[in-house]
Chain length 144, copies 6
Amino acid sequence: MSTQVPTENLESDPRVKAVFDDIRSTRKTDFINNMWLWLAFDPALLERTWTEVKEVIGKPSSIDPLTKEMIYIAVSVANNCSYCVHSHTAAARAKGMTEEQYGELLAIIGLAGKTNQLATALQVPVDDAFDASATVRRTAAEGS
Amino acid sequence: MSTQVPTENLESDPRVKAVFDDIRSTRKTDFINNMWLWLAFDPALLERTWTEVKEVIGKPSSIDPLTKEMIYIAVSVANNCSYCVHSHTAAARAKGMTEEQYGELLAIIGLAGKTNQLATALQVPVDDAFDASATVRRTAAEGS
Amino acid sequence: MSTQVPTENLESDPRVKAVFDDIRSTRKTDFINNMWLWLAFDPALLERTWTEVKEVIGKPSSIDPLTKEMIYIAVSVANNCSYCVHSHTAAARAKGMTEEQYGELLAIIGLAGKTNQLATALQVPVDDAFDASATVRRTAAEGS
Amino acid sequence: MSTQVPTENLESDPRVKAVFDDIRSTRKTDFINNMWLWLAFDPALLERTWTEVKEVIGKPSSIDPLTKEMIYIAVSVANNCSYCVHSHTAAARAKGMTEEQYGELLAIIGLAGKTNQLATALQVPVDDAFDASATVRRTAAEGS
Amino acid sequence: MSTQVPTENLESDPRVKAVFDDIRSTRKTDFINNMWLWLAFDPALLERTWTEVKEVIGKPSSIDPLTKEMIYIAVSVANNCSYCVHSHTAAARAKGMTEEQYGELLAIIGLAGKTNQLATALQVPVDDAFDASATVRRTAAEGS
Amino acid sequence: MSTQVPTENLESDPRVKAVFDDIRSTRKTDFINNMWLWLAFDPALLERTWTEVKEVIGKPSSIDPLTKEMIYIAVSVANNCSYCVHSHTAAARAKGMTEEQYGELLAIIGLAGKTNQLATALQVPVDDAFDASATVRRTAAEGS
C-alpha cells in the first residue's frame, strides 16, 4: 500500500527524464528502483534528492563504498524505514558484503540499540573526556 | 541530571570489581567512563553488557575497528542517544577518524535521515529486486 | 496482520454505538475507518480518543483544517506510523491538498529529517537567542 | 533551556487554578511538577491532559500502580523523553520500585532495544501464529 | 518481504541445533518462531541473543512474567517494531493478559506517547525533585 | 556539550565565508546561529544544507512561511531533536505564531503521538479507502 502512485508516462516530463537518464548511466543499468518512481511527481524534489545521493554515496571519498552502505543500513534500521533497510541491504550485498560481515553489522546495530536505551534510561551524564569543547578548554588552560 | 547515582564504593562488590578490572586491562587505561559506573548498581546487567561490548566491538573481525565505531555513531544518532553519540564519536577519533571522514559520515547520516522520511511518507513499496525471499523464489523457478 | 480483531457486533455495546453514531454524523458519512473498529474493544479508550480527535482536529480554530492534517502527516512520518501516514494523507487530500503542496510538504519533512540528524550528531548547543527563559532573564536585566 | 516559560501568576486563570487544585488534592501534596506549569499557558490542553492522566494512571484498575509506572518508564525511554524518564522513574520509586526491580526493568528495556533492532534489520516476517486475524480465520475454518 | 532467508537445513549447524533444542525444551513446544530462524545464519549472534532472552525474560525474578511481556510490548510499540509487537502481544496473552488489561496497557502507551511529545515540544526542564543526584546532594547538605 | 567545536577563524575559508554572507543577506541580520557554525568544518556539507534550506523553506511557495515552520517543529518534536525544536519554535514566533496557535500545534502533536502509538500497538490494517494504488485499481475497474 502506498500514499501515492506514479503516473504512467513519468518520463514525458523532461526534468524527470533527465534524472532517470542520469540514474541509468551512473549505475549502468536500466533498472530504476521504486524510490525514484515515487519521487517523480515532484521534479524539484527528485532532482535535489538524486543530486545529493550521487554526491554523498556515489563519489570516491575517504570512506569506501561498502562501508557507506553499512552505515546507511544502520541509520535505516534505527529509523525503522522498511524500504530503506531492504534497498541498502541489497546494495551492500551488491558491493560485496559477506554473510560474516552482515552478521557482525547486525550484532553492532543490536548492541547499540541496547546500550542506547540503557544510557537513555539512566540518563547517564556525558563524561568530560568525551566533550569536544572541554578538550578545547583544557588545552587552552594547559597552554597558559 | 540523572535517574540514578553510583554509590561511593562500587568496587567493594567483587563482581563489579572484576568487570572494572577487565575494562582497565582490556583498554589499557585507568579511566572508567560513566556508562559502566551507572550500570554497576546491577552487577548482572553490568556483566552481560560488558561481555557483549567486548565480544562485538573489541574482538578482531571482518569489520575494522574504526568502521565499527562509525556504525555505532550512526545508530546512536538515529536513536538520539546523546551519551552514546558523545562516547562513540570520541572513540572513533581515538581510533583514527579524520575530520574528512567525520564530515562524510555526517553527510551519509543526514542524507539517510532525509530519504528515510521520504520513503516513509510515500510508503514506497519495496522492489521485488530487494526482497531476499523473492530471489530464492526466482532461483527456484528458473531451476525448474 | 494485526494483534487484535474487532468482534462482529461491535455496536451491540451502547457506548461503542454512541461513538460510531457521532463519527457518522460529525463526518456526514457511513464510513467508519479501521482505527475506530480496532479501538472499540475498550469503550473507554474509544470514547477518550474520539473526544480528543473531535476537539483538537474537528473544531474551528486558529489553525485551518488543511494545515492541521499536514502537521498530523508530519508527526506520523517522523513517528513512522504507517496507518497514520495513510489515513492523514487521504484526509489532507479530501481537505484540498494539491500535488504541489504535497511535494512541498515532503520536501520539508525530508529536510527536517536531515537537519535533525545533523544537529543530533554534532550535539549543537542551543543558541541563547532561542531560549525562551533566557529572553525572560534578558528582559528582566534590561528592565532593572 | 525551554521553548516557553510559565507566566508568573498562572493561577489567576480560574481554569488553571481548578486543575492545580485538583492535582494538589489528588496527590495530597503542594508540589506541582514542571509539566503542569509548562502546559498552563493553554488551559484546554492542560485540562485534557490532566483528565487523561488521572483517569489512566490514577484510577484503581486491573494493572497495579507500580506496574503502570514501569510501563510508562519503558515507553519514555524508547521515545527518548528525558523529562518523562526522570519524572516516571521518581514516581515508580515513590510507589515502591526496588533497586532489584529497577535493574530488571532496565535489562528488559535494553534487551527489547536490541531484539527490536534485529527484527527490523532482518525484516523478519510475522509468524502466522502471532496474527490475531489468522486465529479467527483458523477457528472459522475448523468450525466449518 | 525480508532482507534474508533462512537456509533449508539450519540445524545441520551444531551450534544452531543446540540453541533450537534449548528453545524447544525451555518452552516445552516444537514451535520455533521466525526470529530464531532468521538469526540462525550467524550462530554467535543467535546464541548471545537467546542466552540473554532466557536470562532476562525466562528466569523467575522480582518482576512477574506477564508484567515483563507488557513492558516488552510497550518498548516495541514505542520503537515501532512490528514483528516484536506481534510476538510479545501473543506472548502476553499466552501468559494470561486479559482484554481489560490489554485495553489499559494501550491507554498507558497512548497517553505516554502524548505526554512524551508534549514534554519534548516544550522542552520542559526536569524538576530538581526528580534528579537522583540532587537527592544525594540535598541529603549530604542536610547531614552536614 | 558538543562532539565538535567550531574553529576560531571559520570565515578564512572562502566557501564558508560565501555561505555565511548569503545567510546574512538572505535573513537581513548579522546573527549566524550555531547550526551553521557547527557545520562549517565541512564546507561541502555546509553548502548543500544551506542551499536546501534556502530552497525548501526560504522560497515563496504554495505553503505559507508560518505553516512551514509549524510543520518543521512537528517533525523535530517527533524526531526528538532539541536544537531543532528550539530554533524552529523561535522562527515560528518570529513569523507571527500566536500563543493560541502554539497551544493548538502542541495539541495536534500530542494527539498524533497518542494515536500513532495506538495504531502501532494494534497494528491496525490500512483501509482500502486510504490506499492510493487501490484508488487507481478501482478507477480502472470502473472504467472497463
